[in-house]
Structure formats: structure tokens, C-alpha cells
């Protein structure tokens, strides 16, 4: 059986950042991604990112992705594309189908950086063609340059809904409205203001009631919600749209962690059931680590920091970095992560992470 020091599953910002830190320290890294191109979500993100200079703030996501790829290439990491990891077995054996061929690799350490999956919303008509996830739309528009439709109703006013609305308009579609079940906009006001001043109404306390059409979406019916989230009869409104875009949250893509036997806990602030991990990002199964959206739905900037942290911790546990040097590097990462998990949008996530880590101590 093939052997490897570190196998990373998923070449998004978390996986790539971990690969860079570990390889820099001397670890021999293999990183697998099911796609034809590395970068994860970053290659859909054509907008400028937030953060500080250390997080490349003001740089577009695509360019942050390219910078990570350049670095990975320079250091000489073994990047396997078209490589689906389908199972994790005892003794840290990893099942990979690479370019159609099945192999089993025995790894000293495994990092799961598989990201997240989109949540769906069921309503009458939701199986009609034209009801799509925001992630799929973002891939179509920004990667493949295909417009899914001309008139779009967006469901969800979190940052994803707001940003994808803006990008649909940049691509030439019309966004009829953004509807939000909560009484307030979920994402950053600066993103909301940007689409609002381009003429898109944002309708809070409102939800989708029904999609109408023969074979594909032709109309969307929305309805007001009262303060108990009950539909207000008679408040329906109809829009002529050919696409209904769902941006109603993400959930960690954690099947491989379940399969590996990691213990899970429910942390709603971070997207639901999560593999418990410690301050080094190691799960309850020794040698198996998590980083990025699988360890809590956050942002690319936090995914990068968690990836770096896992990479350093893994290099340390393999004996490539001494404890003192590792500690210093980790301290810097904790500090930068705390900066990101601050303010009204971040402090809840910081507290939730603390709870998650405290639960690992109890194991």
C-alpha cells in the first residue's frame, strides 16, 4: 500500500494553507481535490475580500486563490486533482479515486478540509427547473460564464445572497428582489447597500410561498411573515422570474469525519453538527484533523487561518517543528483569528469555537 505523511482532503483555502505550512516545515504532503482545478470556493469569488492586510483584504477571492496555488507549486506539494476521497478507514487508510483509478493510501496524518454543502428549502414548486442553489449559480456565472436566467428572485439576505445578487447583476441578469424571513437583513450592510442602490428591493419578514410554471419556473409568489413567522394571508405578491436562487445557509460537509469515527456535537452558530476538535484542529480520532468550513461555517479568511494552524500542528506532531517555535506561530494565528471573530457578526462564532474546543477537553 502507498504511504504518505499527510493526506489533505479538499484543496480550498483551508486545505491549501495547511499544505503550505506543513510542506514549508518539511512534511511530505499529498492534497486531493475532486475538481479539475484547486482553490475550492475561491475561484467563484470575484469580489474584493474583507479582513486586514494579513488576510489580503481588498484583494479579490480569485486572486487570493491564485496566490495560494502559486505558493503550493513553488514549495512542491503533490496536488492530485480529479481525486475523490471516498472513505477513511482504520489505521488512517484513505480511499481515493484518482483519474478513475482506485487507490488506498496509508497516511500518518489526515486533514479533512472538505468545506460545506448548501442548505435547501422546500416549498410548492421547488422541484421546477430554475430553482437553484446560490453556489451553483455562482459557479455557472463566474467560472463557466453561463447566465442561468434573465430574472432572478433571491431567497436569503446573508452575505452569500447579497453577493450573488450583485454578481448576477454584473453578469447582466435582473434581480427582482431579495426576500428574507427574518425581520432584518442577515449579511453586512455594505453588501446590502450596494445591491439596494442598484435598485434591488430587500424584503424582510417575507418568504417564498410558491414557484409556478409548467416545466420551469415562470413565476414566484412571495408572502409576508408576521412576528411569529406565520404567513400573512392576502399579502402575496407575484414576480415574473425564470430563476429562484436559494441562499439559505451552508452545512459542514463532514461525511468523512463521521466515517472515521470522530465525535460530533451540535453548535448552531457554526452551522450545526460539527466534529469536535481541539486547539490544534485535531478531532477526537488521533491523527485526524479538520479545518475550514467543515469545522464551522465561517469565511475564507478564517479557513486560511485554521488551515495554517492545522498545518503547523501536524508538522509539530511529526517532529518537523519544535514545540517552542510551533507555539509562537500558533499564538500569532490565534491572535489574527480573534481579530476576524470580533464585532457583532463575529463574536458569536468566537464564543461557539471556544465551546467546541472546551468540549474536546471533556473527551
Amino acid at each position: 500500500m502507498k504511504e504518505a505523511e499527510l493526506v489533505i482532503v479538499g484543496a480550498g483555502p483551508a486545505g491549501l494553507s495547511a499544505a503550505i505550512e506543513a510542506a514549508k516545515a518539511g512534511v511530505k504532503v499529498m492534497i486531493c481535490d475532486e475538481n479539475q482545478r484547486a482553490g475550492g470556493q475561491l475561484f467563484k469569488q470575484i469580489h474584493k475580500f474583507f479582513g486586514s492586510r494579513a488576510h489580503q483584504a481588498g484583494t479579490r477571492g480569485i486572486d487570493i486563490g491564485q496566490n495560494l496555488l502559486n505558493e503550493v507549486e513553488k514549495i512542491g506539494v503533490d496536488v492530485k486533482l480529479d481525486a475523490v476521497v471516498w472513505g477513511i478507514f482504520s489505521d488512517r487508510r484513505v480511499g481515493i479515486v484518482h483519474e478513475g483509478k482506485n487507490t488506498l493510501v496509508k497516511a500518518k496524518k489526515i486533514l479533512l478540509a472538505t468545506g460545506a454543502a448548501e442548505n435547501v428549502l422546500a416549498f410548492p414548486g421547488w422541484t421546477l427547473a430554475g430553482v437553484m442553489g446560490a453556489g451553483a449559480i455562482q459557479t455557472m456565472v463566474n467560472v463557466h460564464r453561463v447566465l442561468p436566467g434573465k430574472n432572478v428572485l433571491m431567497i436569503g439576505s446573508g452575505n452569500v445572497g447579497l453577493i450573488v445578487s450583485y454578481q448576477l447583476m454584473q453578469a447582466g441578469a435582473k434581480v427582482a428582489a431579495i426576500v428574507e424571513a427574518m425581520p432584518r437583513i442577515g449579511g453586512y450592510a455594505v453588501h446590502a447597500s450596494k445591491v439596494r442602490r442598484a435598485g434591488v428591493p430587500i424584503l424582510t419578514s417575507t418568504t417564498i410561498k410558491e414557484a409556478k410554471g409548467k416545466e420551469k419556473v415562470e413565476k414566484a409568489v412571495i408572502i409576508k411573515l408576521d412576528d411569529k413567522f406565520k404567513q400573512v394571508a392576502g399579502s402575496e405578491k407575484e414576480f415574473d422570474v425564470d430563476v429562484i436562487c436559494l441562499a439559505v445557509g451552508l452545512s459542514p460537509l463532514a461525511e468523512l469525519a463521521w466515517m472515521a469515527g470522530c465525535k460530533f456535537t451540535d453548535v448552531p452558530e457554526l452551522g450545526g453538527l460539527l466534529a469536535i476538535h481541539n486547539e490544534d484542529m485535531e478531532t477526537t480520532v488521533p491523527g485526524i484533523y479538520v479545518a475550514g468550513d467543515i469545522a464551522g461555517i465561517e469565511e475564507a479568511s478564517t479557513a486560511i487561518e485554521e488551515g495554517r494552524l492545522a498545518g503547523i500542528a501536524i508538522a509539530e506532531s511529526l517532529g518537523y517543528i519544535n514545540a517552542a517555535a510551533a507555539k509562537e506561530q500558533k499564538q500569532q494565528i490565534y491572535k489574527r483569528s480573534d481579530q476576524l471573530r470580533d464585532g457583532p457578526f463575529g463574536i458569536g462564532r468566537r464564543k461557539a469555537k471556544e465551546v467546541l474546543i472546551s468540549r474536546s477537553l471533556k473527551q
Binding site: 486586514s52 483584504a57 453586512y188 453588501h191 447597500s193 442602490r197
Partner: protein, 170 residues
């Protein structure tokens, strides 16, 4: 309240922001207006201003604070803001007109001299606006900064533009 319910500021919400200059300062000539109201982890504006007129400080969730006397209205910070929340307003441009510099990321980009519609924060057309300048150097990384002239009373109202021929409904 309007900001988190509708996505745009009402006049009172705007006035209290530390990034918005006083009325007296606005009267004196070009100055930046930073419409950033939430504590989000972000600070590129601080770094973009070579004159040190924008301060965020150690904690990157602090709101950007403007020292309006140090601001020349040069517009360098406009394209640097990932939230597109920064504008430069010159209320002293002429007897009858004010100018607004705003970030623009749509195609086609308007041309200098073109007349476009001026939109308010809710996206409603409020006037005609003349495009005075279009800046899109490499440094701005594909965000153009458009300078328009609008009726003087609308300098603090107009925050977007719409090209005249993009009106068509299909």
C-alpha cells in the same frame, strides 16, 4: 433602522457615523464620505489613505474614523474599499452643482461627457448626472471610480448611476 431593514441609510443614521464629515467641512470642498456603519472585520481604507486621514486602529472591527481636515478628497480610498462604502463629495464644485466620486463595477463603463441617471441610496432615479471623469488604473483592480456632477442639493443623495441606454426592459 432603515439600514438593517431596507439596506439604505436614513439621514439620521448617516450623520452620526465617524466617517461622515460635518456640514461645515462638506461646504469647504472635496472630502471623503465613509458610509460604513457596522463593526465588520475590515481595514483596507485605513491603509489606502496616504495622508492618514482614516483611522481604524488595532482592532480591525472598529468603525473607520475620519479626520476630515487631513482629507484632500483625492479619492484613492474609494476603490480600495471592498464594501464600496466610500464616496468623495465636493459640495463647492460650482454655484449650482456638486460632484460625487463613486465606485462602479458594471459594464459598459460610462464615458467622460456622457449623461447618466443619478440614483439615490434606494436605487431611485433622482436626476441627470454628467460624467466628468472615469478612473480605472491597474491599482484600482477592476473597480472604476466615476466622478459625476449633480445638482448641488443632491451631493449627499446620489450614490449610484445608471446608463441611459440600459433602461430597456426585456
Amino acid at each position: 433602522m432603515t439600514l438593517i431593514k431596507d439596506g439604505f441609510f436614513d439621514a439620521d443614521e448617516l450623520k452620526i457615523l465617524p466617517g461622515v464629515p460635518s456640514e461645515e467641512r462638506l461646504k469647504k470642498g472635496p472630502v471623503v464620505v465613509i458610509e460604513c456603519a457596522q463593526q465588520i472585520p475590515c481595514n483596507p481604507c485605513e491603509e489606502a489613505c496616504l495622508k492618514g486621514a482614516i483611522e481604524i486602529g488595532e482592532s480591525i472591527v472598529n468603525l473607520p474614523k475620519l479626520n476630515a481636515d487631513m482629507c484632500s478628497g483625492c479619492g484613492l480610498c474609494v476603490a480600495a474599499c471592498p464594501g464600496q462604502a466610500i464616496f468623495v463629495v465636493d459640495m463647492a464644485y460650482s454655484q449650482t452643482e456638486a460632484t460625487v466620486q463613486l465606485p462602479y463595477e458594471f459594464l459598459p463603463c460610462p464615458k467622460e461627457g456622457e449623461v447618466v441617471a443619478g440614483l439615490n441610496r434606494a436605487g431611485e432615479k433622482v436626476c441627470d448626472a454628467k460624467v466628468l471623469k472615469v478612473l480605472a488604473p491597474k491599482k484600482f483592480d477592476r473597480t472604476a471610480v466615476i466622478k459625476i456632477a449633480v445638482p448641488k442639493n443632491l451631493g449627499m443623495i446620489v450614490r449610484n448611476i445608471q446608463l441611459k441606454n440600459s433602461d430597456k426592459e426585456d
